[in-house]
Amino acid sequence: MSAVARLSRRTLGHTEAQEVETPALSLHGHRDRTPEERELSETMLSEFHGDPRYERFVLGCLNCGECTSGCPAARFYDFSPREMLQVAIHADAATLWDAMQEKIWACCQCYSCTMQCRFGNDIGGIISVMRELSVRHGLESARRTLAPFGRTFKLLSTVGTQLSPDMIQPEFFRDWGPTATRIDATWGVPLEVLRKAIPIDVLQTTRAAWEVSVQTSLELFRIYEETGVLDMLRGVDPDLTEMLIELVDERREEFEELKEQFRAELAASSAVRPVSPG
């Protein structure tokens, strides 16, 4: 093999035929892509560089590596914010495609890299943009990565918070130990009683972080509808999304019935905000 053949294909101006023949993970590090994936990665590259945040977040790079030196994920994963910034700067769809399969999901979103960057790049922010692209286009890697988050999506969409006390179950949080996951057994009372012992009215629930009023949670769902968040969710989990829409529709019907139930009290309070039926 000649010396030139060992160089990265980015320096060689490779042909499409060469690219198709490339093994799944070749020495120069690129994954093989089907023709559809190649087209999709070109589309994503175009959308990525066209995102209004791109110019604000990506300002230049000295390759100094300060970002990576303070990165928690870099200590445990094959991941480097310096590399992610280089991927963002270079207009190479194959490299972007590779980074979006796994690496972008290693980032902790702590913004240590952003704080340390001499150039003022927002590296944590640009990784978020890559993640959004991955979700919006329903990449298999995004679906796989986000599979455990159905409960979080459901909570946000239906009750307006993203954690509930009854989520902390031993089978999912075994590593947190018995004090955290079996607090009811530790104190000999049901979880509901322990929540009732919190001296804040809206926290006395097990099904949400706090009890969000129905009107308020419907406002959040309306925002999700108006901003395309539901379409993003649909790309990751279509069945869950349709179920959430049905649940919220039922909740809206209940809300209209509640208006009748509380008609007199609502009439006395002229400042109740309307919620559009959507």
Partner: protein, 434 residues
């Protein structure tokens, strides 16, 4: 050769703000004034009744911290699994005579989900932030953000809404469909900043001597690494080289803050990782935070000021024993530590039993009679189990508020405010506020 004065003049001249898509502005607060004058936004101002205290941010610019008449913007993680965090804060507010509103008409900021799964976008995040800003505004209470990530997200969203005309327009349209207007607070205020400026009043109420306590402080990333210029710095603490809160209150109470080499590291929360890939979170927390806190700082307790940090550092320690990490370092938020030092009930108020790593040893060292308090709490639980009524820090909400966001204070004028016109008209308070 320019001298310092020439340089400052030059910088001031170059600070002329720009406006439009993708343009950065130098001081978002100055641009907010201009946008309000154009009728594009309403600025929720800190007023004398909010009893503000002035501090300085990273750039040395003034930041006013309201201390009274506050709207609690709660945290999912705190309320969900560290409930003593918000109850300690409300208790300290009661003790120091501050009024507040804690109501069910607030949504999550949704930023935990965003940073974990990316299933959102800037317009959605900004609309959620603006929705909650408006709710605080219409109740005439200034928003106080409990969560570090909500604080970081809202700083970003306020900046985005000021800098980006397109996002501003889209969010305004969404808010209109909700019957709301675009309101941006004069300052985005984290609760630890409230604790920081309340230090003199807090220290005056201390009942337990904490001078024998050594604390290692973990600075939450989203407090000072996102939109860094909004974080509070004070030359009296670390020479102004690190954020002042939460170290400042620990030192003010008389405890010793000990340094350690990885103070700058994150906790390992990771947003996605803490729920779905905790191998990383617990490894990072034990190796990079807990171990140096104990072996270098010889800490009795780790103090921090964010939801995810308390969760990760506290709950990652039990499994660490499998690899010989048996440190059992208590992890508390600054306000829980404050409440304990001020004599709050460890179980009924500080709710220490929700912590996975025991706090009892620390309480013994602080001189707190926790065994008696524990017996009292067990009796209280028995009463509640038999149908007894719980104690509250403020009068509980009325039934109608489970469903409807009843207005409690001023409402917006029908037309956007013009310069010189009153920003709000006041209605009678209809429901009991805190």
């Amino acid at each position: 050769m320019l001298d310092a004065t020439d340089l400052r003049t030059l910088v001031a001249e170059q600070r002329a703000p720009t406006q439009g898509p993708g343009k950065k502005v130098v001081d978002v607060r100055e641009e907010m004034e201009r946008l309000e004058a154009k009728g594009e936004i309403i600025v929720h101002r800190i007023r004398p009744e909010n009893r503000p205290v002035e501090v300085t941010n990273l750039l040395g610019r003034p930041k006013r911290i309201p201390t009274d008449r506050l709207w609690h913007h709660k945290s999912c993680g705190q309320c969900g699994n560290i409930p003593g965090y918000p109850s300690s804060l409300l208790w300290v507010m009661n003790e120091t005579g501050r009024s507040y509103l804690n109501e069910p008409h607030q949504t999550s900021c949704t930023a935990w989900n965003y940073h974990g799964t990316a299933t959102s976008n800037p317009v959605a995040l900004a609309a959620v932030a603006a929705r909650n800003f408006h709710r605080a505004y219409e109740t005439d209470h200034f928003p106080l953000i409990h969560c570090g990530t909500s604080f970081g997200d809202y700083k970003e969203m306020r900046k985005l809404l000021v800098e980006n005309e397109d996002v501003r327009h889209k969010v305004r349209e969404i808010l209109r469909k909700l019957g709301r207007e675009l309101v941006l607070p004069e300052e985005i205020v984290h609760y630890s900043e409230w604790v920081h400026v309340m230090a003199p009043e807090i220290v005056a109420r201390r009942v337990h001597d904490v001078s024998g306590i050594v604390a290692a402080v973990h600075e939450p990333c989203h407090y000072y690494k996102m939109v860094p210029e909004d974080a509070v710095y004070d030359r009296r603490f670390f020479g102004g080289q690190r954020p002042a809160p939460p170290s400042s209150i620990v030192m003010a109470l008389g405890a010793r803050v000990a340094d350690y080499s990885t103070w700058y590291d994150c906790c390992g929360f990771g947003f996605r990782h803490i729920l779905a890939e905790r191998e990383f979170s617990r490894s990072f927390a034990n190796l990079r935070k807990i171990r140096p806190m104990v072996e270098e700082a010889h800490a009795d307790v780790a103090i921090t000021s964010d939801t995810g940090c308390v969760t990760t550092l506290d709950k990652s320690q039990w499994i660490g024993r499998a690899h010989g990490f048996s440190y059992a370092l208590p992890i508390l938020s600054d306000i829980e530590f404050v409440a304990l030092a001020l004599g709050a009930h460890p179980y009924k108020i500080v709710q220490v039993h929700w912590h996975a790593t025991s706090v009892e040893g620390l309480m013994t060292k602080m001189g707190i009679d926790w065994p008696t308090a524990k017996v009292e709490f067990q009796e209280y639980l028995r009463t509640l189990k038999e149908g007894g009524s719980p104690d509250y820090l403020y009068p509980p909400r009325h039934e109608i508020e489970r469903y409807f966001a009843i207005n409690k204070g001023p409402v917006l004028p029908e037309e956007p405010p013009r310069p010189g016109s009153p920003a709000v008209k006041t209605l009678t308070v209809k429901e009991g506020s805190g």
